[in-house]
């Protein structure tokens, strides 16, 4: 039932001999909310600008509803953009800003009036029509930018980190509102962000990008629970990487040794051999912290505890020196639940919740990626 609205195929782009997009192909379905997620410099903004027509690809084609628009200038594309810093016209009132696109279409005055009012009502700014952009708060300017972009009823709305300039609370409100708008308008949204939390909560599908290539394309759940590679696993959410070793392979089941524990797992979708090392991934919320006299798990002690309101996040150092992040919900039955630094515990996890990844020459995150991932956390 889903139809392809926009497809990019074999897109390459270089700036000053630096490859920004590398033979990238992607199809976007009509009506979906798709997010381009990645650290700065991954090519997500360039990709969006290519859809808008602000950049031309060196190679490859952009097709909209079956029509090649690779060389079509932005003013002739039925897509509209919400810019990172809103890019409102400072010399025009809110009304004129929103009306601009319709005036360019030379629509009758009454028609413009009606549609601008409708668009402003949609973003709850009816009473601000006469104001100038500089008389509005950041959140209000953001709404004007959205109204201005949707008033032409584009086939697709391109949003370039539209919420990054807003404070945390306002950002959450706008996230909900954007989702509502998208449902009401039925327009395809292409959303660019470096905030993985934002991506997970808003998208139908997420495109994880790095170095101009797609690392993974999938639903938020797929990206979070079944990351395709080490980069995605590290960039989206926090992950414990445990060293594993294959000890037996029997049909569709394999056994993996992790910290001396033998785990029986289903065979991963990549080739495995006996004694091969691989990554065993566990999200902090999958970790169970047990009492020191428990028979299960691996022994260690608490080295860090962070009260997060709804969860208690801790870091446990195992006897081999490796660190494990754990995130536990508070238990209503045990209001005094807490750890002290140095407290001895055992670490375990729910059997079968492990995710296996092959080692890939083990690439650590670059500083920039680390920062971006950190940024996205808070």
């Amino acid at each position: 039932m889903t139809e392809t609205l926009l497809s990019l195929s074999g897109i390459s782009k270089q700036f000053d001999e630096k490859t920004v997009l590398d033979e990238l192909s992607l199809t976007i379905d009509d009506g979906e909310f798709i997010t381009l997620l990645g650290p700065s410099g991954c090519g997500k903004t360039t990709l969006l600008r290519m859809m808008a027509g602000f950049e031309l690809p060196d190679k490859g084609t952009v097709t909209l509803s079956g029509v090649d628009i690779t060389q079509t200038p932005p003013e002739k594309r039925p897509l509209n953009t919400v810019f990172q810093n809103y890019a409102l016209f400072p010399h025009m009132s809110v009304f004129d800003n929103v009306a601009y696109g319709l005036k360019m279409e030379k629509r009758p005055k009454a028609d413009i009036q009606e549609r601008v009012e409708e668009a402003l009502a949609m973003v709850q700014l009816e009473d601000f029509a006469k104001r100038k952009p500089h008389q509005l708060s950041g959140g209000q300017q953001q709404r004007v930018a959205i109204a201005r972009a949707v008033v032409k009823r584009p086939k697709m709305l391109l949003l370039d980190e539209p919420l990054s300039a807003l404070d945390y609370k306002l950002r959450r409100t706008m996230q909900v509102e954007l989702k509502r708008l998208q449902r009401e308008l039925g327009i395809t949204f292409v959303f660019v962000t470096h905030d993985q939390e934002e991506a997970l909560s808003m998208s139908d599908r997420i495109v994880v990008l790095k170095d101009g290539r797609i690392q993974q394309l999938g639903t938020p759940r797929e990206v979070y629970e079944r990351p395709a590679n080490v980069f995605t696993a590290r960039f989206v959410g926090q992950t414990n990487f445990f060293p594993g070793r294959v000890t037996s392979i029997e049909g569709e089941r394999i056994s993996v040794d992790v910290f001396g524990l033998n785990r029986d797992l289903s065979k991963p979708p990549f080739r495995v051999a006996m004694n091969q090392s691989l990554h065993v991934l566990l999200r902090p919320e999958d970790i169970r912290v047990l009492a020191p006299d428990d028979t299960e798990g691996v022994a260690g002690h608490i080295v860090e505890r962070n009260y997060k309101g709804s969860t208690l996040d801790s870091v446990i150092e195992l006897e081999d020196g490796s660190h494990v992040m754990a995130s536990e919900f508070f238990d209503e039955d045990d209001p005094a639940f807490d750890y002290s630094i140095g407290e001895r515990v055992r670490v375990s996890w729910v059997d079968g919740w492990e995710w296996l990844l092959a080692e890939e020459g083990d690439e650590p995150l670059t500083d920039e990626e680390e920062l971006a991932a950190d940024d996205a956390e808070h």
């Binding site: 808008a52 003013e75 897509l79 509209n80 953009t81 810019f83 601009y100 360019m104 972009a149």
Partner: protein, 286 residues
């Protein structure tokens, strides 16, 4: 929250300095000019009582009105030429990379290190009958005999444009620098072509720079008396020549003062228009 003067001695010192400067070096001299303009000409003491408006009445003498209008006309042509050259120049300047930008601005400012009088004489050497330009045109075969370039209205305008062009470019450069690229992209994104974007976005957003440039060119162009003195014939007078003549040659101080006040008021009018255009952009504090 304001702190009292006592708590901020530095602030107080700065305020006194600024206000003192404005009072003694700006307001007082201007008041003296206003005073002189309403007094009577006196051969021995330059000015004397009684107070009257004769000087202003004299300004309406058709002869001076003609000089004023001709001067305004030459200044307007100069301003227009400066705008036509300066606008695309400033636009291009704001688009080149930062290092080249600094170099170009530096080149634009270098001539200021030489006295403008000296530079006007240099221009005279170029425009003279046997000057560089005529010789070049003749040896290129464009002309058979030297053309009369010097002592024409054209020569005066060339001189004025040459001296005043940087004053047009610099304020324009500053507004083009502030012109945000994403605002232009937004205009294209919403369906406006190049021409529509220029008309609806670029022109209104650079208008304060245009007005600032016009202010910095038009008024001085009416006052740079030495340019017609050196490059122009006897008929290409500027208001500045009239003022200079009244003070130095005719010894009619009230009339010279009245003429310069009219110039100042014209300037004030332009500044008012400039403020209005800025307020429309919501930058009244800029």
């Amino acid at each position: 929250m304001m702190l009292s003067i006592k708590q901020q001695p530095f602030r107080a010192a700065v305020l006194v300095l600024v206000w003192g400067w404005l009072l003694f070096l700006v307001l007082a001299p201007n008041m003296l000019v206003v005073g002189a303009s309403v007094m009577t000409r006196d051969p021995s003491t330059f000015i004397s009582l009684p107070l009257n408006l004769d000087a202003y009445r004299q300004l309406f003498n058709p002869l001076y009105l003609e000089v004023f209008l001709h001067s305004l006309y030459m200044a307007a042509i100069t301003t227009l030429i400066c705008l036509l050259i300066g606008y695309p120049f400033a636009w291009a300047l704001s688009r080149v990379d930062k290092r080249r930008q600094m170099l170009l601005i530096f080149l634009l400012i270098v001539p200021f290190w030489t006295n403008s009088l000296v530079r006007t004489y240099a221009l005279k050497l170029i425009l003279a009958t046997n000057g560089l330009l005529n010789s070049a045109l003749i040896s290129l075969g464009v002309l058979d005999e030297p053309a009369q370039l010097l002592y024409t209205e054209g020569a005066v305008i060339v001189g004025l444009v040459y001296l005043l062009l940087p004053f047009m470019i610099l304020p324009l450069y500053s507004v083009f620098e502030d012109l945000r690229q994403d605002v232009l992209l937004a205009s294209h994104d919403l369906g406006a072509g190049r021409l529509a974007t220029f008309k609806n976005i670029i022109v209104p957003l650079t208008l304060p720079g245009v007005l600032a440039g016009v202010m910095l060119v038009l008024l001085p162009a009416m006052g740079l008396f030495f340019v017609p003195d050196i490059l122009g014939g006897s008929r290409n007078l500027l208001v500045g020549n009239v003022i200079k003549n009244q003070f130095l040659d005719a010894r009619n101080w009230p009339f010279g003062a009245a003429a310069s006040i009219v110039l100042t008021l014209t300037m004030a009018l332009l500044m008012f228009a400039h403020r209005l255009s800025k307020r429309r952009l919501g930058e009244e504090d800029a």
